[in-house]
Structure formats: C-alpha cells, structure tokens
C-alpha cells in the first residue's frame, strides 16, 4: 500500500508539472487520455477487497435513463481507502484485476488554434490506412465505426487562463 501511495504521489506530481506547462506557455499540442474502457473475465470485487486498507463501499445498479440517453455503466461499486479517504487507486487496481484487458483507448491531441484548424488537418494529416469519411456536425472523421482506429477532428473551446478556441484531433 505504501508503494502504491508513493506511486500515486509521484503520478500526481507529474500531472501537476504538465498542468503548469499548459497554463504558462500554452504549448502547440497537448495529449490527453479522454476515455479508457476495459474488461475482466471474472468479478473483480474479491480482488479489490484483497487490497489492504481498501474497504468496500456502496454498490448499486444504475437505472437506465428514461429519456433514452446513453448508459455508460450498469452498476457501480465504490471502494474507499480507510485512512486517506481515497475512492479508487488506479495503479493498484490494474495490478490485481484478474485478466484485465483494455478494449478502447481514446487519445485527444489538443492543438493551439494558431497552429491548427480543421482545414489544416484535412489538407495535411494522414492517419495510416484510415480514409476520410463524410463530416458530421462540424466534425471530420477518418476510419469507420467498426475499424480498429477512428480519428475525429473538431474545434472546441478550451478553458484556460484566458478562454480561447482550439482544435482537437482525437484518436479512438
């Protein structure tokens, strides 16, 4: 647990450095992990309960939204550290989850607006064998929904010290 805590502190420190760079100098491009999805073949609850200091908390099903919105999870189960109050320790969790495999990773490349826009991406970007497909709602796409890789390029508002618009290229 101490090792896991130390690792988490180290990770927090690195995140802080990255945020500082983002706020001060506004680099040309910043990479972010937008979404990650994985699965386990067996119920991970027992493995999580095996982590010293981690106690099982509330667990309940999530009812499907009545208005037909996307339901990301069917059930939630909170785990909380007895001493620090931390809700989930990512690094420890991945180590103990039986046969954990990632099934989806979304990376976002946020470019500064001075260097990038959708036109620039359309004209100059190549994404391996992925082909451009028709744009939808001011978002350009490369690759199919069922392909191993899908890229989307769009403009988005980035809230920093001063609010400004930027362009993002997202690989999923």
């Amino acid at each position: 647990m101490l090792a896991a805590k130390a690792a988490l502190n180290r990770l927090r420190g690195q995140v802080g450095i990255q945020l500082a760079v983002t706020r001060d100098s506004v680099p040309g491009v910043v990479v972010k992990l937008d979404r990650m999805q994985g699965y386990c073949r067996s119920n991970p609850t027992t493995a999580l309960q095996g982590i010293p200091g981690l106690k099982s908390g509330r667990s309940h099903r999530i009812e499907r939204p009545s208005d037909g919105r996307f339901q990301a999870y069917g059930r939630v189960h909170w785990f909380e550290n007895r001493t620090s109050g931390m809700k989930l320790l990512l690094e420890s969790v991945f180590e103990v989850l039986p046969d954990f495999r990632m099934t989806l990773v979304e990376l976002a490349f946020d470019f500064a607006p001075a260097e990038m826009n959708r036109k620039f991406v359309r004209e100059h970007a190549l994404f391996g064998k992925s082909r451009p497909v028709p744009s939808v709602n001011e978002t350009d796409y490369w690759g199919t929904r069922r392909g191993s890789k899908r890229v989307q390029a769009y403009s988005k508002e980035i809230e920093r010290v001063s609010s400004r618009a930027g362009d993002a290229v997202e690989i999923s």
Partner: protein
C-alpha cells in the same frame, strides 16, 4: 483505438502506453505537405510528355493541397506506387511526438505485480 488495434500492438494495460510513442507518430498520425516539384521529376522519369505532365498538375491543383486526396488520385488514376515519396514532413510532427512523450512519461512502464517477487 479499438480492441483489434490494442491487441495488434500488445497494449494490454496502461503500463504499455509508452509503446504509443513508437507506434502512433509516422505510422498512424502524421502531417505532410505535397511537393509538386518531386511529382514533376517523377512524371518526367516515367516518360510523360510536358503536355500530359501539365494536365496531371492541373488535376492535382484542383484538389487544393488535400494530401490524402492527391495521393489517392495518383494511385488510382496514374497507377503510381509509393506515393509517399512526394511528401515533405511538417514541423507539427515534432511537436506531436514531444507532446506524446510528455504524456506517456506520466504512466509507469514497469509494473510490479502484487504478490509476486
């Protein structure tokens, strides 16, 4: 990146994110600029007449610098192979690699499995 992609490059968990620095740039994401001069040289080498070369260049210019569309045209219409040779790298690729390195540095690369020595 979907399951098939992750399986192909053996990215099983976040500890493997470091591999993305080698995998994504150049192979899966890159910013290039089409170089007309290289195309003209190649067309001359292939024995195209100046008139035909000019016609091809006009067709290419209609695509307004769209790199993917231009390469597709050269492959489909002229039967050219290795069309990547007509491209010049843009500086954006360097910034992209730096940003990716910075991000992957946030993730641990050598996991220590609990309960194993």
């Amino acid at each position: 990146m979907r399951s098939r992609f992750l399986k192909l490059y053996e990215i099983k968990d976040p500890y493997d994110f470091g591999k993305l620095v080698e995998i994504l740039p150049e192979r899966h994401i890159k910013f290039m600029k089409f170089n007309e001069r290289k195309l003209v040289e190649r067309l001359r080498g292939m024995g195209f007449s100046p008139r035909k070369t000019w016609e091809i260049l006009e067709d290419v210019r209609l695509l307004e610098g769209d790199v993917w569309a231009t390469l597709n045209y050269l492959r489909q219409e002229l039967g050219m192979k290795n069309t990547q040779r007509f491209l010049d790298r843009l500086d954006t690729n360097g910034a992209l690699i730096d940003a990716l390195k910075q991000w992957t540095a946030m993730w641990l690369v050598a996991p220590k499995k609990l309960g194993k020595k």
